[in-house]
Subunit: 791 residues, 2 copies
């Protein structure tokens, strides 16, 4: 956990007013900068102390063998692990002969600010060396959103009170030492010094290092260049060796004098391009950065963010904690995706090595919905990446003796890397999650080109997978057996409602897409018989319902499983304290599953079913996954438990700002950060799109006086401005003047000419607010102390 007063609540920034070494690793994740192509953790400029040093290049990974004591057919043999690459953000400082290290001497002040509008991390340190010399160090970093290969750092040292001799060592460090994180010596061995030196050279004001990985055979170049400003004389030297390049600047500073260094970094990497090509690519990026200059990069950064916030901002009046958190989340979503361009968006973005840097369904299911409404080009890029790995997914399906494509449960490059098939391969729903993301993109943006270019084939091949996985029983009912839904505490089941509904959706949208692109579909070998069989399966998909209890069992028979013994077995997360053998056959839910189905396939459930299902599953959901709280917020708001929904919103929104899962050090939870937006927009805004129309149904909790958010819908931008009694819809942009949306179940027309205001009626829940399992109620929002800054 991060103490409440570590990071004051401020609307447009995350500020650490004093250095807190106890949560250094967490702050490195929170303060990570990225553009989706390159990511750097918020390590201190001088490199140490650190939690984990981290510089990541999207899809730059090493391969490692996956061991099995008892192997089975089709188990993936190779894992992929993101590599901490050449660290270019190091600027070591010597004050006279004393290295600047916050652990020595006296740190008079130390402030770091992640500015969500500037897209920079700044640091202001006032330090007195052990012998009493004082300096002020101010650094500002950015990972450029405008030039995707570029990182830039402005580093300023100012002498205070006395003359000091200042030495700055600006470095590129490959194969830096890592804290030991795995008990498995084989993992450690592979990730220890993962980079093999290929080339090094020093240039006039910088250097270049090139390396490659052993098993995955990826090559990378890292290059740096510097601009130096100082009154008077300075000396600069460059040297480079295999794993270290160093530019050293020495000068003397009288009190008030400053040394300013702008460090430009460029990275290039490839599995195919040659050494000279990569070398030149990095050099070109450096030139381009110097051409723009520090000021140009900073201005371009702010402009991109201004545009982003104009279309994406969520304003939460009366609730400064949520206000900060949702912007923090949106900022990191932008960072994770803006320039990913043909590579995946990992569940931790590029902020840490958690989950080995893998992409999961988190992206398609939780991150892309937000991006589709706020940064659609990034959603399209992510979907193009999925499409680009379709061949691997088809190979995987063929290996498993199935038709179509089977997307990996976890991967960096596209190959399945999950080593536990009951919660990997069997979680087939990943395929429908991807299909849903394609379909949502098409509906929300109105952009048909993605489907035409590549989406159609993904829809066809995933539909084929479902068709070969399921079967009609002797009564014609279509079943999916042996599947694992989102709840990983129940696996290998029959007719998981979530999976069946999502599969049916996948089959239908694939059939519809084939109808839209009948010529292309025919060329891909899809006959009308085939699409008919998809529709038949979708129509016959079994959705179990427990008539006695009036609820949907999460999967066949679930509501007759043993109840979990919440009197005895409440060490959370349960998976670290209880065997799967007990968890699977009990009515204990790791994360929303049936409840998630009610969000994503909302129109398949009646209001009463939603109320009763929420009531049933709330009592059995232990939320041992960070993917759960946002959906609980959405569905609690849906059925009228708006105060409970507000508490869940906090949990989703603060997962990293407060380190609620105690693993923010390993990287940020992109899906949960997206979940803050989802809790507000889909929860209190009531956003749904599963019927192909923009549906809204806003209703605020007591603690939020006004919620205003912006959505992109086709060529329009819709602003939704909610107060307790009414909602005002404003339509911006768009080629024509009218848009039909659905408000609270009724279709209404919005016009670009004037806003539409509608009075809201009080939402009365059918049932009283449910209890959660012991110890698993969400923290009441008032328990988070809000340390706000006087404005």
């Amino acid at each position: 956990m991060i103490p409440d007063d570590t990071l004051p609540v401020e609307p447009w920034q995350v500020r650490e007013p004093q250095l807190n070494l106890d949560v250094l690793a967490q702050s490195e994740s929170l303060f990570a900068l990225s553009n989706g192509h390159i990511g750097i953790r918020g390590n201190l400029d001088e490199g140490e102390p650190h939690g984990f040093p981290g510089t990541y290049l999207n899809s730059f990974y090493e391969v490692r063998p996956l061991p099995y004591a008892e192997a089975g057919f089709g188990y993936p043999e190779a894992g992929q692990t993101i590599v901490d690459v050449t660290n270019g953000k190091i600027l070591r400082l010597l004050v006279d002969d004393e290295p600047f290290d916050v652990r020595y001497g006296k740190l008079i002040s130390h402030e770091r600010i992640l500015d969500l509008r500037a897209g920079t991390l700044t640091r202001d340190a006032h330090w007195q060396s052990p012998v009493g010399k004082q300096v002020r160090v101010t650094s500002t970093r950015l990972v450029s959103l405008s030039q995707r290969s570029v990182v830039a750092i402005e580093y300023i040292v100012e002498a205070v009170e006395q003359f000091v001799r200042v030495t700055v060592q600006s470095e590129l460090v490959a194969n830096e030492d890592q804290p030991v994180t795995s008990g498995d010596p084989r993992v450690a061995a592979i990730l220890d010094r993962p980079l093999e030196a290929v080339q090094h050279e020093d240039t006039e004001c910088g250097a270049l290092l090139m390396h490659k990985t052993r098993a995955s055979a990826l090559m990378m170049a890292a290059a740096m260049d510097h601009e130096i400003e100082v009154e008077g004389r300075y000396e600069i030297t460059n040297d480079a060796s295999d794993d270290l390049a160093r530019t050293t600047v020495i000068c003397g500073l009288r009190p008030g004098q400053r040394l300013r260094i702008v460090k430009y970094l460029a990275y290039g990497w490839s599995s195919q391009r040659s050494r000279p090509a990569l070398r030149d690519q990095a050099a070109a990026a450096l030139h381009s950065a110097r051409y723009s200059g520090w000021k140009g990069l900073v201005e371009a950064q702010r402009k991109i963010l201004d545009d982003y916030w104009d279309g994406a901002d969520v304003e939460v009046e009366g609730d400064p904690i949520c206000q900060q958190a949702v912007r923090f989340g949106l900022f990191h979503l932008l960072q994770a995706s803006a320039r990913a361009e043909g590579r995946g968006i990992a569940s931790k973005g590029l902020t840490g090595t958690g989950y080995d840097g893998h992409v999961f369904w988190d992206t398609d299911g939780f991150v892309l919905p937000v991006l589709t409404y706020t940064l659609p080009h990034a959603a399209a890029d992510a979907l193009r990446w999925r499409a680009s790995t379709l061949d691997l997914a088809k190979e995987r399906a063929a290996q498993l003796d199935l038709k179509g494509a089977s997307y990996p449960w976890r991967t960096i490059r596209g190959q399945e890397c999950s080593a536990y098939w009951p919660a990997g391969t069997a979680a087939w729903h990943i395929n429908a999650d991807i299909a849903m993301a394609f379909e949502r993109y098409r509906i929300v943006t109105g952009d048909e080109t993605l489907e035409k270019d590549c989406g159609l084939e993904v829809l066809i091949e995933t539909a084929r997978l479902w068709h070969s996985l399921g079967h009609h029983d002797r009564h014609g009912v279509w079943h999916l057996d042996g599947v694992t839904g989102p709840d990983e505490y129940t696996a290998i089941v029959r007719d998981n409602v979530f999976t069946n509904m999502m599969a049916a959706h996948n089959l239908r949208v694939a059939a519809d897409a084939c109808a839209r692109h009948s010529e292309t579909a025919r060329e891909m070998g899809v006959s009308s018989d085939e699409t008919a069989s998809w529709r038949a399966a979708a129509d016959a998909a079994h959705i179990p319902f427990d008539e006695e209890l009036g609820v949907h069992p999460q999967s066949e028979g679930f509501t007759t499983y043993a109840e979990w013994d919440f009197n005895e077995k409440t060490s959370y997360p349960l998976l670290l304290h209880e065997p799967y053998a007990l968890l699977y056959p009990a009515q204990v839910v790791k994360q929303t599953d049936l409840v998630l189905a009610m969000h994503w396939q909302s129109h398949k459930f009646s209001d009463e079913q939603k109320a009763r299902n929420v009531d049933y599953y709330e009592r059995r959901t232990v939320r041992d996954s960070s993917l759960s709280a946002c959906t609980q917020a959405v569905m609690c708001a849906n059925v009228g438990h708006v105060e409970l929904a507000h508490d869940y919103t906090y949990e989703a929104a603060l997962v990293d700002l407060r380190d609620l899962h105690n693993n923010t050090k390993d990287g940020l939870h992109m899906a949960s950060l997206a979940g803050a937006w989802t809790a507000l927009v889909a929860g209190f805004g009531g956003l749904r799109d599963d019927e192909g129309i923009l549906s809204l149904n806003p209703y605020l909790p007591d603690g939020i006086s006004r919620l205003r958010f912006r959505l992109r819908w086709q060529d329009f931008r819709v602003t939704v401005d909610v107060i307790h009694d009414e909602v005002t819809y404003t339509l911006r942009d768009g080629p024509h003047g009218e848009l039909t949306i659905r408000h609270a179940g009724e279709d209404i027309e919005l016009s670009t000419t004037e806003p539409t205001t509608i009075t809201l009626v009080k939402r009365e829940p059918l049932l009283p607010a449910p209890q959660q399992p012991p110890g698993r109620a969400p923290l009441h929002r008032n328990s988070y102390r809000s340390v706000t800054q006087p404005s």
Copy 2:
């Protein structure tokens, strides 16, 4: 496969008339000698060529880490692997300067005979060296059934035609080179040179080597001594070093002269005893062996076997192949168990390293039933071993947050070593299999002491496990969810019929045992409320039935799963070609499961159910396990498909004699060897005991003209003599003159005074004989060519 003519069909021996190097590894398993305490593979005296050298001591194992790419709570971290220990059976021969090696020179004749009545392996080789010198080598080996630590070899070299100088090197070799069998370098590393030298010494006519294992910290001593007989002068020298001790005998032989060496070997091992204690223990065993002498050991061996055959023999007239096979099986069962005395009976006995030398349910479910009727003291010993590991099973249950005891799916010492929980931990039925074996022992032998000594506690703790695993649903029905039955192609299911019936049986017999020993049970903390709750669970256990099809689904919903695509997916064994993700939710059965329930819990099924279930499951059972054919034989015979049953009998009986599963090289399949007896006695003899009474219902297939078998029942011996038209029951021994048995469902009285003969009625099947999956019909018995020896 072993060609039919490699081993002629002979009633009391397995003879290899010519050395067939193509099946050398298989013959090493077939010709393995063991007493359950020590096992030696049938390697050639001179050590090579070999398939795998093998000398095994029961429960002498090394520990190795079990790796998991994705670990889970409660996964066992340490595996156990049987170790090939110091090889004492090596006798190298030099003829003049030429080493006797069957691959060089000319092998004029070579015959090996495993004598099932003598309990010896003899070898007769006539060899001409590359330079034309001829010798005759005759060796006879035994692993003593009378002196459990002793192995003895009589080795005779005779000069033929010319004078030869003969050198015999008799050795003890530790850490002998192994062929590489695992692709996993870590396994290889641990099993490469697994023995650490502790001590070596040479004695007057022999030597001693002591070693210990690194991780499991077991110590062992191997000692040898020799008696030499030869006309004229010979020289003997002894030397010993860490891993090699050698006794060298040199002499000259004129044509017809013989050098005779008797080599005595003794082994001792322990986890606790000291080095000197073990050293002396081995020395004492050697002394004792020399005291008995070769002749004494041979005579004692035959006497023990005479006694065994007197009570255990099965005579199969008209079917010499079955005749040989059932005796071969019974012989190896004796070898695996006779002197195990407090240690387990591994699934391969001590004949190879297959399955790491682990004990599985094979023992309790397939081997012990045979031993209970034929060698009850060995059954009792095996059960005492299970009882001796009860504390480990209780620890395992506690680790899994369950009550009672959870026995390991696979183990050497008692700890769970299964690294794939869906087919390990979840196969909870192992516990009921053990309970059943205790209960059968009590009923069949009438011996109540085992239950009193240790069985009661096992029954109680396994009952507690079931009670904590299962639950009553809201209608009071008792379910076992998340279990895996015997069919490992369907796992983690609800209400597996086999498991539910076996669990109910376990609960009932535990409650009954507590009633019999109420005082002791009370002391163990069992209240009458607790036993009542066991009976209530057993009575309410759900047994699903598919009314539409008139068959039992193997587990809930099984008969509505997808049918396996036998047109496309028929590469057997399927588990090497198809993912579990497809196998689990399909109607494809690896090995009998529901059909096994009909054998072991026969009285729970009507005749019609049996007929329909056999018909249903025969069509879906691919028999990818060697545990299946015997049960298919039993149940096919039961429902009247006696010719099909006969074919299955062949498959069970010949699994090793013909190497039907292509893995006899790794050791013999004890359960399938037991299955030969079971197929004949429970199949064509109709033996059942699940109602606590000796039930028989014989009926012969066309190819067997007479089947005569002996059973021990309480203090009686019952001989059952079946011909096509009638059966004659003869009662031997016993304190009183009468015994009630059940014949064909009717209770009858047998008397010691005279045999009872009953006419048999033709067995008409309700349904025609079923088809098996493509490629999985059992080979017709006539396809095995019977190379018989003229008698």
